[in-house]
């Protein structure tokens, strides 16, 4: 383990500096529906250092993607950012005008979507889809680059993600899932963003391709000195890739901590069950699940959202919403069980 890291990580070659890249404070995304307010993402607070890999995990509907979209201010009506701030190197993204935010996307904060799905325009050549992002981010004093210059840029980007330059002339349907994912990454890094949000970049890919994609993504991120927020539910992948992990449940970030610590010593009962449910090579045993279902986000119970399913719940859990407690270096948990250990 290298000592110069700003935060604890076992990742080789990591260069994490003590600069706050992303500071999310109390971010809440609400959907106003006829049935009431759906708190898809409620009071989420976390910090990412420059060069850090942060993984956001949680089951479907826990608000991971809602959070990722809110960071890019891509929340669509009836959803809206109800409160909170998103500071990217000190600039509050929630305060930018729409056009400033548009320019910040891709150049400051880039989304790498599930490329294997439908994220590329089916009737546009790959090269063109890489280029249009560049063209729409030219500043007023920049002249439109010539065709050859653009071709060179595209060739360079495709090579960096491990694709033949010839891919630029193809259409999305002519590519495999893995190739499309690489294209999505090429677009994502085309303007050297400071933060890359990768939303389940490897789902729908087979494990061999998954590994290659994650390696490429990691290499690109290190090359750019960018931070990365990985959204996913593949715990194994997260364990290998990330420095820090955040666990979401019912729109709340219930636990944050260094990957090794959270896996070896999970604190929140939900995290414990989540990690306990992973199959192990050492022992053959029944699959373990978490009994019950996540609550309806429109009608959350008064106390902790996990109380009904929690094996360690006690009276207070169904009354008070647990606050986020700091229980160690970069180690937060929102659970009444740890009130005694909290460091203030």
């Amino acid at each position: 383990m290298s000592t110069e890291q700003a935060i604890e990580t076992y990742r080789e070659g990591a260069r994490i500096s003590d600069v706050d890249a992303l500071v999310v404070d109390g971010l809440s995304v609400y959907y106003e529906t006829e049935g009431g307010t759906v708190k898809a993402c409620d009071d989420v607070t976390f910090t990412l250092k420059q060069g850090e890999r942060f993984a956001l995990v949680g089951e479907s509907g826990s608000g991971k993607t809602t959070l990722a979209m809110a960071l890019m201010r891509l929340t669509r009506p009836p959803g809206h950012i109800a409160k909170g701030s998103v500071l990217l190197y000190g600039h509050d993204l929630t305060k930018l005008t729409d056009d400033e935010m548009r320019k910040a996307r891709l150049s400051e904060i880039a989304l790498v979507p599930q490329g294997a799905m439908n994220s590329l325009n089916p009737i546009m050549r790959i090269g063109k889809q890489v280029v249009d992002g560049l063209l729409d981010h030219l500043t007023d004093d920049q002249s439109t680059p010539g065709k050859e210059e653009l071709d060179d840029t595209v060739r360079d980007l495709l090579t960096r993600v491990g694709l033949r330059p010839g891919v630029a002339r193809l259409y999305p349907h002519e590519l495999s899932g893995g190739m499309k994912q690489r294209v999505a990454m090429a677009i994502g890094i085309s303007l050297q963003p400071k933060l890359i949000i990768a939303d389940e970049p490897t789902s729908a890919l087979d494990v061999v391709v998954q590994r290659q994609i994650m390696q490429t993504l990691g290499r690109l991120q290190e090359g750019l000195d960018a931070s990365i927020m990985l959204v996913g539910h593949d715990m194994g992948l997260v364990a290998q890739f990330a420095d820090t992990i955040g666990v979401m449940y019912a729109g709340k970030l219930v636990e944050v901590g260094p990957v090794e610590e959270v896996f070896s010593d999970p604190k929140h009962p939900y995290t414990k069950l989540l990690i306990g449910s992973l199959p192990s090579l050492q022992e053959k045993r029944e699959f373990l699940g978490i009994p019950g279902l996540p609550p309806e986000l429109v009608a959350l119970p008064p106390g902790c959202a996990f109380a009904d399913r929690c094996p360690s719940s006690f009276d207070r859990c169904s009354v008070d919403i647990p606050e986020k407690l700091n229980i160690g270096s970069r180690r937060d948990v929102a659970c009444h069980l740890y009130e005694g250990e909290a460091q203030s």
Partner: protein, 359 residues
């Protein structure tokens, strides 16, 4: 409608030119395949039109002569002789397979026969003359309606449009619910009858003869305005509603979300991502509609006494002019099959996912 076809690679000259290979190559080619299919459809449809009237067991010539005789109260002697004469004239005394081969032969030479009601004018003449009027009016209106309707639908289906737009377009689209002939009569009543701004009926002023002059051109335009608007209003709504639906569906596509995440300008997302993709089914619709415009608008053309193919079809049916009806039906078949063929050929250019030929 479209299919993946493998074009045969250039046959290697070293092995000698294999005739069979070249022939299968030609027949395997996408365009040739589509064209052969086009011919097949035309042949099949024509054969059906050939057979169906003959199943009725009626003798069109005799019917016609009887009708004339009753109407005129003329003597009925010699009717059979006359019928025989006409049947010979129309080739109806021949065995059926000879009639059929004559029919196909005429069809291949685009000879649609002679009109009964307007004897001795040929069906070709009658159909061709009215087709020009119909194509001029309907062709223009259809394309105009497509462009306007698609544009309106695209804007209406765009979430970032200015809010007031729907208050302008939506009432306009309700006009689509009014039947065309009714709208035609309302327009005639207001603009031709009450206000007298535009002519009441016809394709050109009565008493003038079609000629190539500026004055005649203006006259034709004046006569076309009301029928054009009667059709336009209803058809614009049709295109707009379809396009609007496609645009709204488009918003849920992953690549639309990704286009936003790429920080693209709104105008680029609108044109290159949303409209360009939403347009594909619209184009299919346009091709199919283009195929049917040769049928004319029977009701609208009737209301305006517009000299188009719809009006001729109406008259031909009224006068049981079988050969003209058949001629018009054949033109409709050619129109629809031709439009489908054109669509098959052009669609791969619009949508790269539909690819033909080269492997």
């Amino acid at each position: 409608m479209t299919e993946q076809t493998q074009a045969v690679e250039n046959s290697s000259p070293s092995s000698g030119p294999s005739i069979i290979r070249i022939i299968t190559g030609i027949f395997g080619h996408f365009l040739v395949k589509r064209f052969l299919f086009f011919l097949f459809v035309v042949w099949l449809a024509s054969t059906v039109i050939f057979i169906i009237p003959r199943l009725s067991g009626q003798d069109p010539v005799k019917e016609k002569l009887l009708l004339e005789a009753q109407r005129g109260g003329a003597m009925q002697t010699g009717l059979d002789a006359m019928a025989k004469h006409y049947q010979k004239r129309f080739g109806l005394d021949q065995p059926i397979w000879i009639q059929y081969s004559n029919f196909l032969n005429d069809l291949a030479h685009l000879n649609l026969g002679v009109s009964i009601a307007f004897f001795p004018r040929t069906v070709n003449d009658i159909v061709f003359e009215s087709l020009i009027w119909t194509l001029g009016l309907m062709g223009t209106v259809t394309l105009l309606a497509f462009v306007l309707g698609t544009l309106a639908g695209a804007i209406l289906g765009w979430p970032r449009r200015p809010g007031w737009i729907q208050y302008v377009f939506m009432p306009l689209l309700t006009l689509a619910a009014i039947p065309q002939y009714l709208l035609a009569m309302i327009l005639i009543f207001i603009f031709a009858f009450k206000l007298g701004w535009l002519p009441l009926f016809g394709g050109y002023a009565a008493g003038t003869l079609p000629e190539l002059s500026f004055a005649f051109f203006i006259d034709v335009i004046k006569h076309a305005i009301l029928p054009a608007f009667a059709i336009l209003f209803s058809v614009v709504g049709f295109w707009a509603i379809g396009m609007r639906g496609m645009m709204i569906n488009m918003q849920g596509e992953d690549y639309m979300i990704q286009a936003d995440a790429k920080g693209l300008k709104g105008s680029r997302i609108f044109m290159r991502y949303a409209v360009r993709n939403a347009l594909l089914p619209q184009v299919t619709g346009l091709a199919l509609v283009l195929g049917t415009i040769v049928t004319g608008q029977v009701l609208v053309e009737r209301v305006f006494s517009y000299p188009g193919i719809g009006d001729i079809l109406f008259q031909a049916i009224r006068l049981s002019d079988f050969f003209v009806i058949r001629g018009i039906v054949i033109v409709i078949i050619l129109g629809i099959a031709g439009a489908t063929f054109l669509l098959d050929v052009l669609y791969p250019l619009l949508d790269p996912r539909i690819k033909v030929g080269k492997s």
